[in-house]
């Protein structure tokens, strides 16, 4: 019953999305008031039905209803409840349904908030409806999560042990809230092109912010998950799947900055539209890369070519449609504003140039091997060294310029006075560089440079915060986000330059020194988890002869899935991680052990959190103040209207 019900509900959702698309687009005409009402109510209806469909699938997972094929192939009665739930999106079909759920959520928000003009909102709902229609169609035809299995098996096949983790429970929903959230900016941009409304950037800003915050958290969570779950001590591997989430983030970051200029001073109107289209296009390309099975890795569970083909057509239609609309209508919006070469506008433009180049780098690095292979079968690898040589210098140059933006005013600014404000930050940069050179070994140019830049950014943020004392909370948003970048940078530089590792077989009672830590191996106990058996290593962290704490890394075996997994143990003092991964049994109580000491590793994710917090502050300011009339906007709009 439950499977058929789910399918029926999803069919209703499909019908509603079509109604929403048609009525929304019709509502773009000035007189079509009824159509606009229909668009709003069908958006809410769509949300209700997609939530229902998702709820039904979740129910099937929670109750281990193995007559639903997806549940049988991805769940197991012994799995803890939280992983039964996260199992819903731990597979291709369910994660596509989650994708559509997020799309419907944003559509619902657009409908409820009704930001911007009526026609603009209606057209945006229309575009959102088209996207929902296309993707629900995709689910029903190629990735139906409600297919039956008859006879129903008594037990399910289980979920990849790698995915049975709190990080996985949170990471995909967060990431999707980010990159599917960019659909709202995309829809608003397309709508602005249709109805020719200038105010779209302000209308869409809260959606861009929410998407960016979620994407930032999602990437940070994913990186953290890879760090503690994969047992290799790394945090970012430039894997195509990771790149697929980084590309939308880079464009979304560029978009946030460019849209600010459009909103506050009327600059870069067409460019901001293009970025809004590009941002969601990157999300679509990312979805294709991960979901089609083009690139096989941890995330790409799907490998059915018909799916890939169907999805490629959908994506090509969405992107070419939006770009076509842009080419046709963008000239109508061209205003052209005046600003001096020394102004905040110029810095935001430079920000965009560097971010787009950084994104191009990730884009080419991810797709080039695929294209080359498809063209003439030549196989090359594009691994981390490529990004170190291309992405890193471009991003580094961007970071050098970051502090100037907030110090320069709109339209016309004075570089000298910005320098006067900022020079103490140079002092902090110098102190950071000297400190690194003086007290840490091994010395390296990259780490020293990274810390100097981090000092420069943090110094500039402190200056900015002091300058704005007493301002609204949202005034501190950029200072916080930029400081977050610096914090992440220090974490990345610290672990990369100063990580130490030990790789040995330990006998009971044996001691091991790694970095500043002394460890003692106290043997292994056999533990039974809800759906696994584990060898649990007892490793004492010694302080002299006293046991400071005991770390318990595990080596797990999941009988249902027939797989082995490592469960790392991490001891952190907030600035340095001691990271242990237990290997397999070497006989006679001996076990393999891998130990890392990663200085500053926690800063990587802390920085991500601080960045997200900056975004939240900005959003808070937006939602609290009904209409914060910007000083510069009025003349800009007047100018554009001429």
């Amino acid at each position: 019953m439950i499977g058929e019900l789910g399918q029926l509900v999803l069919c209703f959702a499909l019908a509603l999305s079509l109604v929403m698309a048609v009525s929304g687009l019709m509502g773009a005409r000035p007189t079509a008031i009824a159509a606009r009402k229909t668009a709003t109510s069908s958006a809410l209806g769509l949300l209700v039905f997609v939530v229902l469909a998702f709820g039904i699938l979740t129910y099937a997972f929670v109750t281990s209803d193995f007559s639903v094929a997806l549940v049988a192939s991805h769940s197991h009665t012994l799995k803890p409840l939280v992983y039964k739930i996260s199992g819903v999106w731990g597979n291709h079909e369910g994660s596509m349904l989650l994708w559509v759920l997020v799309l419907a959520l944003y559509a619902g928000l657009v409908a409820v908030l009704q930001r911007g003009g009526e026609r603009l909102t209606s057209a945006a709902l229309g575009v959102q409806g088209l996207l929902a229609f296309a993707f629900i169609l995709f689910i029903l035809f190629t990735s139906n999560p409600f297919l039956r299995l008859d006879p129903a098996p008594f037990e399910g096949a289980g979920l990849m042990p790698l995915l049975q983790d709190p990080g996985l429970a949170m990471h995909p929903p967060m990431l999707y809230a980010g990159y599917v959230g960019l659909s709202a900016a995309f829809s608003y941009a397309a709508a602005a092109l249709m109805v020719g409304e200038e105010g779209w950037a302000r209308a869409a800003r809260p959606f861009m912010l929410v998407a960016w915050i979620a994407l930032t958290c999602g990437i940070a969570l994913g990186s953290w998950w890879a760090y503690y779950e994969l047992g290799w001590g790394g945090f970012w591997g430039w894997d195509p799947v990771e790149n697929a989430s980084l590309m939308p983030w880079l464009i979304a970051t560029a978009l946030l900055h460019s849209a600010l200029a459009t909103e506050k001073s009327g600059a870069f109107r067409t460019w901001t539209l293009l970025l809004a289209i590009a941002g969601f296009s990157m999300s679509l390309i990312g979805t294709f890369l991960v979901r089609s099975g083009v690139i096989t890795s941890v995330h790409a569970f799907a490998s059915d070519p018909t799916r890939g083909f169907f999805m490629l057509i959908l994506i090509a239609l969405a992107i070419t449609g939006a770009l076509g609309l842009f080419a046709w209508r963008a000239s109508k919006l061209q205003g052209g504003t005046a600003f001096s070469s020394v102004s905040r506008e110029t810095t935001l433009l430079l920000n965009n140039v560097f971010l787009v180049a950084a994104c191009a780098c990730v884009f080419v690095g991810t797709l080039y091997p695929l294209v080359l292979d498809a063209m003439n079968g030549t196989k090359i690898s594009v691994g981390p060294p490529y990004y170190v040589l291309t992405f890193a210098p471009i991003f580094f140059a961007l970071l050098l310029l970051v502090p100037f933006g907030p110090q320069l005013g709109w339209k016309r600014a004075d570089l000298k006075s910005a320098w006067r404000t900022l020079y103490p930050a140079l002092g902090l940069a110098a102190v950071a560089a000297v400190t690194v050179l003086a007290i840490v070994s091994p010395r390296g140019a990259a780490a020293t440079g990274a810390f100097a830049v981090a000092g420069w950014l943090i110094g500039a943020s402190i200056i900015d915060i002091r300058k704005r004392k007493g301002a609204r909370a949202s005034g501190f948003a950029s200072a916080l986000a930029h400081a977050g970048l610096a914090i992440t940078l220090m974490g990345v530089a610290g672990t990369t330059a100063w990580r130490s590792e030990a790789l040995t077989v330990m006998a009971p009672g044996q001691k091991l020194t790694v970095g500043p830590y002394t460890l003692r191996f106290d043997g292994v106990t056999r533990e039974k988890g809800p759906n696994y058996i584990a060898d649990r290593g007892h490793i004492a962290l010694l302080d002299g002869n006293k046991v400071q704490t005991t770390l318990l890394p595990e080596h797990r075996y999941y009988p249902a899935e027939g797989q082995e997994m490592t469960d790392t143990a991490i001891h952190t003092n907030g600035l340095r991680d001691l990271y242990l991964a237990l290997g397999d049994d070497r006989g006679a109580g001996h076990f393999a052990l891998r130990a890392y000491v990663s200085p500053l590793a926690p800063l990587i994710w802390l920085g991500g959190l601080v960045m997200a917090l900056g975004g939240i502050l900005s959003l808070w300011g937006r939602l609290r103040v009904k209409d914060p009339a910007p000083q510069a906007a009025a003349p800009a709009v007047a100018q554009a209207a001429e």
């Binding site: 070469s341 690095g365 030549t378 490529y386 040995t504 490592t566 991964a581 397999d584 070497r586």
Partner: protein, 140 residues
């Protein structure tokens, strides 16, 4: 990306071969871990630059596949024979193709790959330059 710890156990099993006779100890002349830290650093460094051909996106250093084990063995043997890093990389590329290099070589079919980010940067810079000049002219 399977269990990376297994790699460790492989390395370790070889390392510990004299103590544990049950480990799959290969021929006696095999060197799997250099006692000289400089040589060991070189080996690890090379291992990180190489891709495991039978895995997904893992380096030879991380992978626990038999293939990666063979390559580790091969390159360590060549290091002990006194070959330079470049000679070893050339040898492996001749044998397995460019795919084994984590860092793609600079050659005609990768020029675009290496140049594209900087071309975009240059083009973006040029567009920004003209946009700023235009905006400045409007202001005047």
């Amino acid at each position: 990306m399977k269990n990376r710890v297994l790699l460790l156990s492989m390395l370790v099993s070889l390392l510990a071969a004299p103590t544990f006779s049950h480990a799959q100890a290969p021929n006696t002349a095999v060197i799997e871990s250099f006692s000289d830290p400089a040589l060991e650093t070189r080996a690890r460094n090379l291992q990180r630059q190489l891709r495991c051909l039978v895995c997904q996106g893992e380096s030879i250093d991380e992978s626990n596949s038999p293939f990666a084990g063979d390559v580790r063995h091969l390159l360590r043997q060549q290091i002990s024979e006194g070959r330079s890093d470049q000679q070893i990389l050339d040898f492996l590329v001749a044998r397995y193709g460019d795919f084994i290099l984590m860092k793609p070589p600079v050659q005609p079919n990768t020029w675009l790959l290496w140049l594209a980010p900087f071309l975009v940067l240059g083009a973006g810079g040029a567009v920004a330059w003209t946009a700023v000049k235009k905006a400045g002219a409007r202001e005047a």
